[in-house]
């Protein structure tokens, strides 16, 4: 019996007034009843359009029908066939442009809340999971970087019996999931849980190892690693190169978020400092900008999101924009900074210019153009630049034979193989900043390629 409700079953949330005073998770997850109610909205379309919208083609119709049947563990296994990080993806995937955008229910009402159901199943499984182990006796594989791409590759290879070592530059595992995406959107326990599962599977983790500095790629080969997967992400922050960016009180979003997420600067007794602005301007409109802005709200600031295009063009996940609005973010659309103003070395304001949208550019989005003589100043004492990131050149600089393109992305073929023998790459390191699910799927692809290559040797 199908539930004909036109809208998604509401997700319980922490109240906006309360949550801006803490870093606890905003969305609280479905109960069994809510999940089954939502699952009943699925029309079980014959051609499963939703699955075609999923970058890893999760069999969505099947896992939703298993929720209806109350067989949550089987639902988990269905997802896990192609997605090894469902608890993460259920929370951070941009479902509205992926699976849910294809849902037939979305034509006359809201699509089925596939992301919320995925999260429900993953959380259900996490609370009851039995430990999976594996005997790793095949060749040694090195994975560089412990973001979603590295974790996915390591997991698949360990399950196939390879001895996997993950090298991570930072002291904490998880990549962007650990240092970038805040606690209130993705609790760190979820990432830790995924890492623990991999450890039980037999994956070895070495933190504080910067490949390219401590060991280079050739040295890893000499240490007996038969294949190497480079999943080093795209961590290099961009700046605007406008006057005043060197002032105290100008952060990259990476720095601001790292201070908060990785170094826990929001806690009273943290030794890592962070400037708490009275009025903060976050420049940009993507997920990173939303995360920085909503973190700043929680640090007690008035927060403006300054974006050079309009509301329609905001690239962030819809849910984050809505949550941000509920929490009191102020959006200054069609506004672009030209100069940051300082006094005694600290930020006191940001000079901006008004923009208008012109003709569509190569990306199909209308190009923002400056309105002459529309300059004005926003008084503020903190500026956070969330303009995007590019791959870190550190690894490339120490690996001259590794081919990269003009944006610094590592060049790979359809199997994820780089210009170097038995060296593979994937995730943001090859695409520039993208999504968790794409990074993960490339990790899985490379695990397959490595197995194909090595199993006959």
């Amino acid at each position: 019996m199908i539930n004909t409700q036109k809208t998604k079953t509401p997700m319980p949330h922490q109240d906006a007034k309360l949550r801006i005073n803490n870093f606890d998770e905003v969305a609280l997850g479905y109960t069994v009843q809510q999940a089954q109610n939502e699952a009943l909205r699925c029309l079980s379309c014959k051609n499963s359009p939703c699955t075609t919208g999923c970058p890893v083609n999760v069999d969505i119709k099947k896992f939703i029908s298993q929720i209806v049947e109350g067989d949550f563990e089987s639902a988990y296994q269905t997802i896990a066939k192609t997605n090894c990080l469902p608890a993460v993806c259920g929370r951070v995937c941009p479902q509205e442009i992926q699976c849910e955008s294809k849902c037939v229910c979305g034509i006359k009402g809201q699509p089925v809340a596939i992301g919320r159901l995925e999260r429900f199943v993953a959380d259900w499984h996490a609370q009851r999971q039995t430990t999976q182990t594996s005997t790793c006796t095949k060749q040694k594989i090195a994975v560089v970087g412990s973001g979603p791409s590295g974790l996915a590759c390591a997991g698949d290879l360990a399950r196939l019996g390879y001895q996997v070592t993950v090298f991570e530059a930072l002291h904490v595992l998880g990549g962007v999931l650990a240092y970038g995406i805040p606690q209130f959107r993705l609790p760190k326990e979820i990432v830790e849980n995924e890492v623990e599962n991999l450890k039980k599977l037999g994956v070895e983790f070495q933190t504080n190892v910067v490949i390219g500095k401590l060991f280079d790629v050739d040295e890893l080969k000499n240490q007996g690693y038969s294949a190497i997967y480079l999943a080093t992400g795209a961590g290099l922050p961009k700046f605007m190169n406008i006057p005043g960016e060197g002032l105290s009180g100008v952060y990259s979003a990476n720095e601001y978020l790292t201070r908060i997420n990785l170094m826990k600067a929001y806690l009273e007794n943290s030794t890592t400092p962070i400037l708490k602005g009275k009025k903060v301007c976050v420049v940009g409109g993507g997920n990173v900008a939303m995360d920085a802005a909503r973190s700043a709200l929680r640090m007690g600031s008035e927060v403006h999101v300054v974006y050079r295009r309009g509301e329609q063009e905001l690239p962030a996940r819809k849910e984050e924009i809505e949550h941000g609005k509920e929490e009191g973010l102020i959006f200054d659309f069609l506004t672009n900074p030209v100069k940051i103003l300082g006094k005694d070395g600290f930020v006191v304001g940001m000079e901006c210019v008004k923009m208008q949208l012109g003709q569509p550019d190569a990306s199909g989005r209308r190009r923002p153009e400056e309105i002459p003589q529309s300059n004005f100043v926003i008084d503020c004492d903190l500026v956070i630049m969330a303009l995007g990131t590019s791959p870190n050149p550190l690894l490339k600089n120490s690996t001259p034979n590794l081919q990269t393109d003009k944006w610094g992305c590592i060049v790979v073929d359809q199997n994820g193989q780089t210009s170097m023998e038995n060296v593979y790459a994937g995730g943001d390191a090859t695409t520039g900043s993208a999504t968790v699910i794409l990074a993960m799927s490339q990790g899985k692809l490379v695990a397959k390629s490595i197995d194909e290559k090595l199993k006959n040797q």
């Binding site: 530059a169 930072l170 002291h171 240092y179 933190t207 504080n208 190892v209 910067v210 500095k213 401590l214 060991f215 961590g235 290099l236 922050p237 700046f239 190169n241 960016e245 060197g246 002032l247 105290s248 009180g249 952060y251 990259s252 990476n254 720095e255 790292t258 201070r259 990785l262 170094m263 007794n269 943290s270 030794t271 890592t272 400092p273 400037l275 005694d344 070395g345 870190n392 050149p393 550190l394």
Partner: protein
């Protein structure tokens, strides 16, 4: 021995400590000018330049001045203890190519960072002068170590030992009589700025080892940025060495004061906690 275990600890003066850390991979790889990032217990992630290495024994030596909470936590760690986190070697090695004669100028705890520079230059048969500046006699350290690799001149601010005055005074005298391929300078920012201004007058190439605030040390946060020749550079991946004549010292002096208030407060709190 265990990884990242403290195998040696020596107090070089009231506030400066030397520690030997067991980490064979880092000891094997590190070159003069590179640094490590440590994090221990509740400390921040703090960069420290590598002062020396014993690759046979697998020991990395660091020298640090107890200045805030994080270095206070480190200074209280004892031989036998394992540091929680120790990553390196980071940054680029100092470039000594074609340097046949050089003057190494250091102030305070910078002497520790300058030592591997002088040692490397000496080992490639360069003529090396070293000028080490300290506030007063009881703060002088590494004098004998330097004497084995360089013609060493000590200056003290208060004249309580050797020559009274600032490093620039001695440097000017040497610049008047000698030709250097390069001057290397390590120390507090105002001192490096003064040295850069002086050597510019003499048109002597000068390399400064920069020490901005860092977090990751891998180019991910941009917190360590500074302006060199009008361009934004990240000290951790583009440096830490830069052409001293092109560095915007004033900007970095201001940036390094970003957390002054917080740090003083945190340090007082930490000291009070210890008293309890």
């Amino acid at each position: 021995m265990k990884l990242n275990q403290i195998v040696e600890k020596k107090q070089l003066n009231q506030v400066v400590y030397l520690m030997g850390i067991y980490n064979p991979a880092v000891a094997n790889k590190a070159k003069a000018g590179q640094f490590v990032i440590f994090k221990h217990k509740e400390s921040e992630r703090i960069p420290l330049t590598i002062a020396d290495c014993n690759s046979k024994m697998g020991i990395v030596y660091i020298v640090f001045q107890q200045a805030g909470v994080s270095t206070a936590i480190l200074s209280r760690a004892n031989v036998g203890e394992q540091l929680d986190h120790f990553a390196g070697p980071l940054g680029n090695a100092t470039n000594f190519e074609k340097v046949k004669s050089a003057c190494v100028v250091a102030g305070g705890v910078g002497a520790a960072i300058a030592y591997p520079i002088a040692k490397t230059l000496h080992s490639q048969n360069a003529k090396v002068d070293a000028i080490l500046g300290f506030r007063s006699k009881n703060l002088v350290f590494f004098e004998e170590k330097f004497q084995t690799v360089a013609d060493t001149h000590i200056v003290t601010d208060d004249g309580s030992y050797a020559q009274k005055g600032l490093v620039t005074y001695s440097l000017e005298q040497l610049l008047n009589t000698k030709q250097y391929d390069c001057v290397f300078v390590v120390g507090p920012l105002p001192m490096m700025k003064a040295v850069a201004n002086l050597t510019k007058e003499y048109s002597v190439k000068t390399i400064a080892s920069m020490n901005p605030i860092m977090i990751d040390g891998t180019g991910m946060c941009g917190g360590c940025r500074l302006t060199v020749d009008g361009k934004t550079k990240f000290a951790c991946v583009d440096g830490p060495d830069f052409d001293a004549h092109k560095v915007d010292f004033d900007q970095l002096i201001a940036r390094n004061k970003t957390y002054q208030q917080f740090e003083r407060h945190a340090y007082d709190k930490y000291c009070n906690l210890l008293k309890k």
